[in-house]
């Protein structure tokens, strides 16, 4: 049997899948069959490479060629040129954004150079639907090790010493959480994996589940062993069909191999995992709401205590951990607590996955050691701001987080530094904003999301956020009053102090942090009726240039509100009080004489 000497890795994550990577896979497979190369060329569908901006991704090994935006029609050329003749298809290679020259070897890509992939270590390297490939990359070794060599308490101690903290947002010590759940005596306990990823723009949990499902199953079993639970539940949103499919395949394969189910590794430990589907409500990422939803009740949070560790799912002690947290567990067991705690900062250990989105060149999923600066993430890994614009801010932590500005660019990122800067780690969404973004509109965008997602149980969150939204909306359409800014501040602090759950308590963060960092923009909107970025349409003004207008009357005829005055061959004028900003005049003008400007026109008198 001749061995495979070339591996073609086709990304089959949701991002690439939606740009037809499955067709690329099929075309490549057909082409390989046709050329009789199926004995030497292996084609694998893998999880996410993280470089979703340029999908579908095709990586060819062993020469580490990284093709981007591959179309099904490119398959023949790739097989003919690259695989058979060994000539790289230059037009598909990833080009360095600075020099524009194609990069021949993916290890040279600045996107990957600074990354350290721990939670994502198998994403893009293995076929997630084949347990053998996971086993070849050490899957279930850690479970075997703890079952045969460690006591539950010893395992908990390793996790505690490693300094692993919850990756879902709040950053509570994972080992401590396990210990607390383990201490509560009960005949039945539960391990819950929180895969209800709700932050707009964040998709690390989905990518891990799609790219490396076995790591989650293994980690949940380890957690079950530690706390004394024999049942695991994965709460996953029904909007993630591919992750659900791969989890199901993984569970059945693990059972077939005897790595899940009764008496694993011939020990007394049995563990079984089932899936629970969520309908995709943001609040169900909060653990008490999540548990209620799993029980078939409304997804509403309840007061803590009692904590889930005492009374959770069906009233039994329950340990809820996030997907990314679990993904770190097996590797900590195998490599040791010291290895893990050597990465990161004093209080935040290990790595963190961030979803880069917004006005950045390399949109995608990245994983860096804690303590990496924003500048490194945005300019080196992210490849800088799109179209050479100026960086303005980055929103971290999703709708519950806050924005960080230029002065925070060199802050090493960890749980504490983000909190000190008025934001939070959250689940790791990072939305980059440039000079064209209006900060008031950004705050309004997040409030809109919160208003939609508030479960409505407590008044401050349900009504308070709606009022915040309305006030922001007033400001963006130019009807803001000077007292509105003070009102916003007061309302924010009331919501923060009196809301029941984490969602409400953090919901005013986008407003507070934009108020703190960009007060001048709020002032401009309120006092000068001006939006410097030009994003607020109501604060833009149509004006006719005196030099360019020839007085043809065309615009005057199309104006639905008769806001344009002026005689034939005279320069026309727009009366701003009547103008409804429909843009019809600008469209009609053949001389490009009508412009938009973000300052109220100084001269409005009719000549």
């Amino acid at each position: 049997m001749s061995k495979y000497n070339t591996h073609l890795l086709v990304c089959a994550g949701t991002g690439c899948h939606s740009s037809e990577s499955n067709l690329v896979y099929e075309m490549l497979r057909d082409e390989v069959m046709r050329k009789g190369l199926d004995k030497t060329v292996q084609i694998i569908r893998t999880g996410c490479f993280g470089f979703c901006e340029k999908g579908p991704i095709l990586k060819i090994l062993p020469d580490n060629t990284f093709y981007t935006q591959v179309k099904p029609t490119d398959a023949r050329e790739i097989i003919d040129e690259h695989v058979i003749k060994g000539r790289k298809v230059t037009r598909l290679l990833y080009a360095d954004p600075e020099t524009n020259s194609p990069i021949l070897n993916s290890t040279q890509m600045s996107f990957y150079k600074k990354q350290l992939r721990v939670a994502l270590r198998n994403c893009g390297a293995i076929d997630p639907e084949n347990i053998d490939e996971s086993i070849a990359r050490d899957a279930y070794q850690a479970l075997g090790k703890v079952l045969l060599e460690y006591t539950p308490q010893e395992t908990i101690d390793v996790i505690k010493q490693s300094g692993l903290r919850g990756r879902g947002g709040a950053g509570f010590s994972t080992g401590l959480k396990w210990e607390l759940t383990a201490r509560n005596e009960s005949t039945q306990k539960y391990v819950v994996c929180n895969a209800d990823e709700g932050d707009p723009g964040a998709f690390m949990d989905r990518s891990i589940l799609e790219g490396d499902p076995h790591v989650i199953l293994e980690a949940m079993a380890i957690c079950g062993f530690c706390i004394g639970a024999n049942k695991g539940l994965i709460y996953i949103r029904a909007e993630y069909p591919m992750a659900i499919k791969r989890l199901k395949i993984a569970i059945s394969q693990a059972k077939e191999y005897g790595l899940m189910g009764e008496r694993i590794f011939d020990s007394d430990f049995s563990f079984d995992i089932t899936l629970k589907y969520g309908a995709g409500a943001f609040v169900c990422g909060e653990e008490t709401a999540l548990i209620h939803s799993m029980e078939g009740k409304r997804g509403e949070p309840s007061n803590k205590p009692p904590y889930p560790a005492q009374s959770g799912y069906l009233g039994k002690p329950t340990c809820v951990n996030n997907v990314e947290t679990f993904a770190n567990v097996p590797v900590i067991i195998l490599k040791g607590a010291d290895w893990f705690s050597s990465i990161g900062t004093a209080k935040s250990k290990g790595t963190k996955v961030f979803a880069l989105a917004g006005k950045i060149n390399n949109v995608g999923l990245i994983e860096v050691p804690m303590g990496t600066t924003l500048r490194e993430i945005i300019y080196e890994i992210g490849g800088g701001i799109k179209n050479g614009k100026k960086f303005k801010a980055v929103q971290t932590g999703g709708p519950s987080g806050g924005c960080l500005t230029e002065k925070h660019l060199d802050t090493p990122i960890d749980y504490e530094s983000l909190a000190a800067a008025g934001s939070m780690m959250g689940s790791g969404g990072m939305i980059v904003l440039d000079e064209d973004d209006c900060m008031v509109s950004v705050a309004k965008f997040y409030l809109d999301f919160i208003v939609e997602e508030s479960c409505g149980k407590c008044v401050p969150c349900r009504i308070g956020n709606k009022r915040l939204y309305e006030t922001l909306d007033r400001i963006t359409v130019g009807k803001g009053k000077p007292e509105d800014i003070e009102k916003l501040k007061n309302l924010c602090s009331v919501i923060k102090d009196t809301s029941l759950c984490g969602l409400g308590q953090t919901s005013p963060n986008p407003v507070l942090s934009t108020l703190n960092n960009f007060m001048e923009e709020y002032h401009e909107h309120v006092y000068e009726k001006k939006c410097r970025s030009g994003k607020c349409r109501s604060l833009l003004y149509y004006v006719i240039s005196e030099e360019e207008c020839i007085g043809c009357m065309a615009c005057k005829r199309v104006c639905p509100t008769h806001a344009i005055s002026g005689e034939k061959k005279e320069v026309h004028q727009i009366n701003q009080e009547i103008c409804i900003k429909c843009g019809a005049c600008m469209e009609k003008c053949q001389f490009d004489a009508i412009h938009l400007q973000n300052d109220y026109p100084k001269v409005t008198a009719i000549i």
Binding site: N5, P62, T107
Partner: protein, 129 residues
């Protein structure tokens, strides 16, 4: 195989399936491994480069040498095909000409394993970027 009952079972299974992804693991860190590039242009293939490449892939695996075997385009030494470029970790690439199975065996045993130079070296007259 059904039922992994012990850690040893799992380790055995891992050995069994490891070859599936060996190449991928190695490719993550190519500079620390022996890299073998076989010139596989028309001229190379016509002179038997395909067989030489298969020989390298199989033999290096059999002799448990961690190496990355890749194909490349024409190196320009069409008179000496099949040509093979070998890069030992931390050393300059070395090109060998007129490689057949016997020569390949000699290259593996003497150059790759021992670092001795063998006959058939073509002086490199190019640089790559």
């Amino acid at each position: 195989m059904n039922g992994i009952k012990t850690l040893a079972d799992l380790k055995r299974k891992q050995e069994e399936v490891k070859s599936r992804i060996d190449l991928r693991n190695r490719a993550e860190n190519p500079d620390s491994l022996v890299q073998v590039k076989v010139a596989m242009a028309t001229c190379g293939i016509a002179s038997g480069a395909k067989e030489v490449m298969e020989y390298f892939v199989e033999e290096l695996d059999k002799r448990r040498i961690d190496a990355v075997v890749t194909q490349t385009g024409c190196m320009g030494y069409c008179f000496a095909e099949p040509t093979v470029e070998i890069t030992l970790p931390g050393k300059e690439p070395m090109v060998f000409g007129y490689v057949n199975a016997r020569k390949a065996d000699e290259i593996i045993e003497r150059y790759i394993k021992e670092g001795e130079l063998v006959d058939g070296i073509i002086p490199r007259n190019y640089n790559t970027i």
